[in-house]
């Protein structure tokens, strides 16, 4: 058993809320820089250049890459041999979010009541996905996500007979309809299987993968490649103003499902795909 004070979780969350909003992950940055060389559209190249300039500026001046610093979404893996002391776990996470968003001059975008829409003023509460895992460590991933892209994410309960083609058609349709809204070039996470809620989470988790990796299952790796080509053939381009760089990556993740179902989810993230990880 290892004791861990919740204050350490709070501090890690606070720091990562700030740094993830200031610093674009290196793999994303590199991919965007490369795409500038292959983009055919002049407006598209100009936009990519400015997106990269913006990321440089944000890092240098320690300001958010995008004003939409998102709803703080956290994926936490808690080792079952960790004994948390000093207070409530969720309170500590939210306190970290509260302090991070205040101290980092990040935007407070959360409304308490989705219908009455009064701002909570401190960007809490966070959305927390918690998993208990073996070991005595705590892995925390902070992934702030803006709603320009979140609003374009989709879920569909397909029929088993729709198969892989059905899933691919659904993904292409979702990206095509999203058009310029999610700030392309986008990063696409696809979830297949599970249940209604599980598939959405699976798609979301796919967004945490490295731009350059591929699914270890060869047929899913092929599907990722095929989807990326098809998406870039839509012509949407950077910011939807036309071009060949609509997506920089497509990541597919699956989960076992029921004999009667084929749930599918498309989580769309913008070029400001932000996440940071720390192990305590």
């Amino acid at each position: 058993m290892r004791e861990l004070h919740v204050k350490e979780i709070e501090n890690a969350v606070r720091e990562m809320c700030i740094s993830s909003n200031y610093n674009l992950p290196e793999d994303v940055y590199k991919k965007l820089s490369e795409s500038k060389n292959t983009e055919e559209s002049e407006i598209g190249r100009d936009i990519l250049e400015n997106i990269i300039k913006n990321a440089d500026l944000a890092k240098e001046n320690r300001v958010p890459i995008c004003q939409d610093t998102g709803m703080a979404t956290l994926f936490i893996e808690l080792g079952q041999e960790v004994f948390l002391t000093g207070g409530d776990f969720e309170d500590a996470v939210n306190e970290g979010v509260r302090k991070g968003y205040e101290e980092g001059y990040l935007r407070k975008s959360i409304v308490r009541d989705p219908l009455l829409r009064d701002n909570t003023g401190d960007n809490t509460p966070a959305v927390i996905h918690l998993k208990i895992v073996p070991g005595d460590r705590v892995k925390i991933v902070v992934a702030p996500k803006g709603f320009g892209s979140e609003n374009m994410s989709r879920i569909k309960m397909l029929k088993p007979s729709d198969g892989m083609k059905g899933v691919e058609d659904f993904v292409i349709q979702a990206v095509s309809e999203a058009g310029p809204n999610p700030c392309p070039p986008i990063f696409v996470g696809v979830g297949i299987g599970g249940t209604f809620e599980k598939v959405a989470e699976t798609a979301k988790r796919a967004l945490l993968r490295n731009v350059d990796d591929c699914n270890p299952d060869p047929s899913l790796a092929e599907m990722e490649k095929r989807l990326l080509l098809k998406i870039n053939d839509l012509g949407i381009g950077p910011q939807g103003l036309g071009g060949r760089t609509t997506a920089i990556a497509v990541k597919v993740e699956t989960y076992p499902t029921h004999i009667a179902g084929l749930p599918a989810a498309v989580a769309i993230n913008c070029h400001a795909t932000r996440h940071e990880e720390r192990i305590l």
Binding site: N50, V63, K108, G146, P180, C183
Partner: protein
């Protein structure tokens, strides 16, 4: 490199008519911010005949909810938000003289029809380039609905604010035409 058209505020009908979809522009002068909640309030104010937070005639509304300014800065990151959410609430404003909008993403057919009828233009700024765009904002002051926080209406003085004419006052729309060119 294509040339950049300089636009000085106020944005008159004549200036709008000289802009074509695809033109790169730099805007200088006073513009106002407004997004979801502010639009709702402005339209309610119009319906009730209440005073508007600013003179709509020949003005530009920038759809943005900026991040807080760091000490010594004019404003925090301030890139555009997605425009379609304002579509239904935009038409009464265009009818009252609003001449330009800055946002990201395409607009509904109804908004475009209204832009053509009244002579208005829609600019796209780069979504997610908020740190860069903030450099062109020289002054910022909340002028209405302060209780809305980031969604309050702000008066901005901008210099060389970079944007593209995405939809012009003739109905030309590069979201449609450019995408078509790169489709395979």
């Amino acid at each position: 490199m294509r040339s950049i058209k300089k636009i000085e505020m106020p944005l008159t009908y004549e200036k709008v008519k000289g802009l074509k979809a695809g033109d790169m522009v730099e805007i200088t002068g006073v513009i106002y911010t407004g997004r979801d909640s502010a639009h709702k309030r402005m339209v309610q104010a119009l319906e009730k005949g209440d005073e508007m937070p600013f003179e709509l005639e020949d003005s530009i509304i920038y759809y943005v909810g900026p991040a807080p300014a760091k000490p010594g800065a004019v404003i925090g990151s301030a890139g555009p938000t997605t425009s379609y959410r304002m579509d239904d609430l935009t038409i009464p404003l265009i009818e009252t003289g609003l001449r330009g909008m800055i946002g990201k993403g395409t607009r509904s057919k109804k908004v475009i029809d209204s832009m053509v009828r009244h002579g208005a233009v829609y600019f796209a700024a780069i979504g997610g380039a908020g740190a860069l765009i903030a450099n062109s904002i020289k002054e910022a002051e909340v002028v209405a609905y302060g209780d809305l926080g980031t969604e309050a209406v702000r008066r901005l003085r901008v210099e060389g604010f970079p944007a593209v004419v995405a939809i012009d006052s003739y109905g030309g729309n590069i979201y449609d035409t450019e995408r078509e060119k790169y489709k395979r």
